[in-house]
């Protein structure tokens, strides 16, 4: 048996090696770069296809919906679009963008700025957006940001808020009881985590790490009192349910997180006329409405994006 099997195994190995080599030469991720460069350089024709744009998204359903909106509005304007959705960590997709594998991705201004400039003092939408161009590497740029924000926010139950008259982080200093906050593990080290609450609002809080980014576990923990307040993103549909009160942040401790198209710098001139109208109408209310359709109707990103773009009159403009 063995002498017969060995050559066969060798053959299989050789075949696999050939296959790998073939894949290597035809790397699908390497192709779009040159193609687009060519198209951008020629840049001729008013309505012809303007090359392939690779659109990426984070592994976050809301981000994927916005990426799908970008993709569809670009397709409508005559661009060839390739989708590379659900890329996990910022490290991974930023690296992919810096070397040209992904060319466009919906980002959040505050986190993007902190990624490149961890010690930034900017907090408001305007300041963060103003600081971004300098912080970004030369190969990347951002277009106009949308009013829509998906920022961190501290939330308590409606009962807790009513009982103690707390509607703002500034009210917490007068609260007698112990305060425990919950959120992703990294919140403990963020400038708007426990240290920020002490510095800006004079409250000492305990911390519990709950890793679902303000998802059902965090909300459960707020409801059952495991934590006093939890970090939930402002575009979360459940915040409209009335169960929670989002505490105001009068000192602007929390970083602004406006949605913004992050893209390859050499595509900015071509894509701005297509994407700026989208950002102009994308408000936080609209973003929540998009998220609601995903969470409650389980509609897929493509359907949600098409419906929204049609409703906003952003499709069919160039035809």
């Amino acid at each position: 048996m063995t002498p017969l099997r060995t050559p066969r195994r060798l053959a299989a190995l050789a075949a696999a090696a050939l296959l790998l080599a073939a894949c290597g030469s035809g790397d699908p991720l390497a192709e779009p770069g040159p193609t687009t460069d060519g198209a951008t350089a020629s840049g001729e024709g008013t309505d012809g296809p303007a090359g392939t744009v690779v659109v990426g998204s984070q592994a976050y359903y809301s981000n994927e919906i916005v990426a799908e909106i970008y993709a569809q509005v670009l397709e409508d304007a005559g661009f060839d679009v390739e989708r590379q959705f659900q890329i996990g960590q910022r490290d991974v997709y930023i690296a992919a963008m810096e070397n040209g594998e992904v060319q466009l991705l919906p980002e959040y201004t505050g986190n993007l700025l902190q990624f490149y400039d961890a010690d930034t003092e900017a907090r408001s939408s305007e300041d963060v957006a103003a600081a971004l161009p300098d912080a970004l590497p030369e190969s990347l740029t951002v277009l106009d940001y949308a009013e829509a924000q998906d920022a961190d926010s501290y939330n308590v139950t409606a009962e807790f808020s009513a009982e103690h008259g707390i509607t703002s982080l500034a009210d917490l200093a007068a609260y007698e009881g112990d305060i425990t906050i919950g959120g992703n593990a990294e919140l403990e080290s963020r400038p708007y985590g426990p240290d920020g609450l002490r510095e800006f609002y004079g409250v000492d809080v305990g911390f519990v790490a709950i890793g679902d980014s303000g998802g059902p576990l965090t909300k459960d923990a707020i409801r059952d009192g495991t934590i006093t307040m939890g970090d939930i993103y402002t575009a979360d549909p459940d915040l409209a349910s009335g169960d929670f009160v989002t505490l105001e942040d009068p000192e602007s401790m929390i970083l602004a997180q406006n949605l913004v198209p992050l893209l390859a710098a050499d595509l900015a001139a071509d894509l701005a006329p297509v994407l700026d109208p989208v950002s102009a109408v994308l408000t936080t209310e609209e973003l929540i409405a998009l998220n609601v359709r995903s969470v409650e109707e389980q509609a897929d990103a493509a359907t949600i994006a098409t419906d929204w773009l049609t409703e906003q009159g952003l499709l069919g403009g160039t035809r």
């Binding site: 990624f115 911390f207 576990l217």
Partner: protein, 235 residues
């Protein structure tokens, strides 16, 4: 290599060793979940494994059920269970998840240990007038001990590696460092946490290696009583 140096510096920095949420506290949490899960899975799986191994019945069912349990994605199971029992009881949900992970190894160790005892040995034990219970407790269980310890050993390693999930539901443990390190790009912290977990696993493995040696001695002693060389070879 530089990253390893930074991770080592992070591990040995004084601020890691004192205050709330310090390294020893996290190791304690991590070890606590592991030991609890091992204990519970031992209570559940050892008697079950002995019954299966002793009677030779229900083996397929036990293997299929426990194998299916192990195939469940731990993070998904943890999230669903925690939502079911409420996050205030997240510790029981996490323990259940780790038990599900540990049971198959312990079960396999228990029944394989009993099953692999030479039929000649159990037959002669019966011929000496031992009851079925005596055969199990005096012959099969001691002779199967090395394999049982092996099962516990691999279960312990799996639980130590998986207990990083505890931090996902507010229970702390060494997973905190990995989650936080990735999100904040503090890779020295992430790697430091990972190294701590590896060290914990190595220490646990060494402890079990020692227990295994003791188990072999016990099984060997018992073996000379009832049989000869075949049992020696087996244990």
């Amino acid at each position: 290599m530089r990253l390893f140096g930074e991770a080592w510096a992070w591990l040995t920095a004084p601020e890691q060793w004192s205050g709330s949420g310090s390294l020893p506290e996290r190791v304690g949490e991590h070890l606590g979940y592991t030991l609890l899960a091992l204990l519970v899975s031992a209570v559940v799986a050892i008697p079950l494994g002995y019954v299966v191994g002793h009677t030779g019945r229900g083996r397929e069912l036990a293997v299929a059920l426990s194998g299916a349990g192990r195939a469940l994605p731990s993070l998904g199971l943890l999230t669903v269970l925690t939502l079911l029992v409420g996050i205030g009881n997240a510790d029981s949900a996490a323990t259940a998840v780790f038990v599900v992970l540990a049971v198959p190894s312990v079960l396999a160790g228990a029944y394989a240990g009993v099953e692999n005892v030479d039929a000649a040995v159990t037959d002669s034990a019966r011929a000496m007038g031992m009851t079925s219970w005596q055969v199990l407790t005096r012959v099969e269980a001691p002779l199967g001990l090395p394999l049982l310890v092996g099962g516990l050993r691999s279960a312990a390693l799996q639980v130590i590696a998986t207990a990083v999930l505890a931090s996902y539901v507010g229970l702390g443990g060494l997973g905190i460092y990995i989650q936080r390190g990735i999100s904040l790009r503090r890779y020295e912290e992430m790697l430091g946490g990972a190294i701590a977990i590896v060290l914990l696993a190595v220490v646990a493995d060494a402890v079990f290696a020692l227990l295994a040696r003791i188990a072999v001695r016990i099984a060997g002693g018992q073996g000379t009583l009832s049989a000869g060389p075949p049992t020696e070879g087996r244990s």
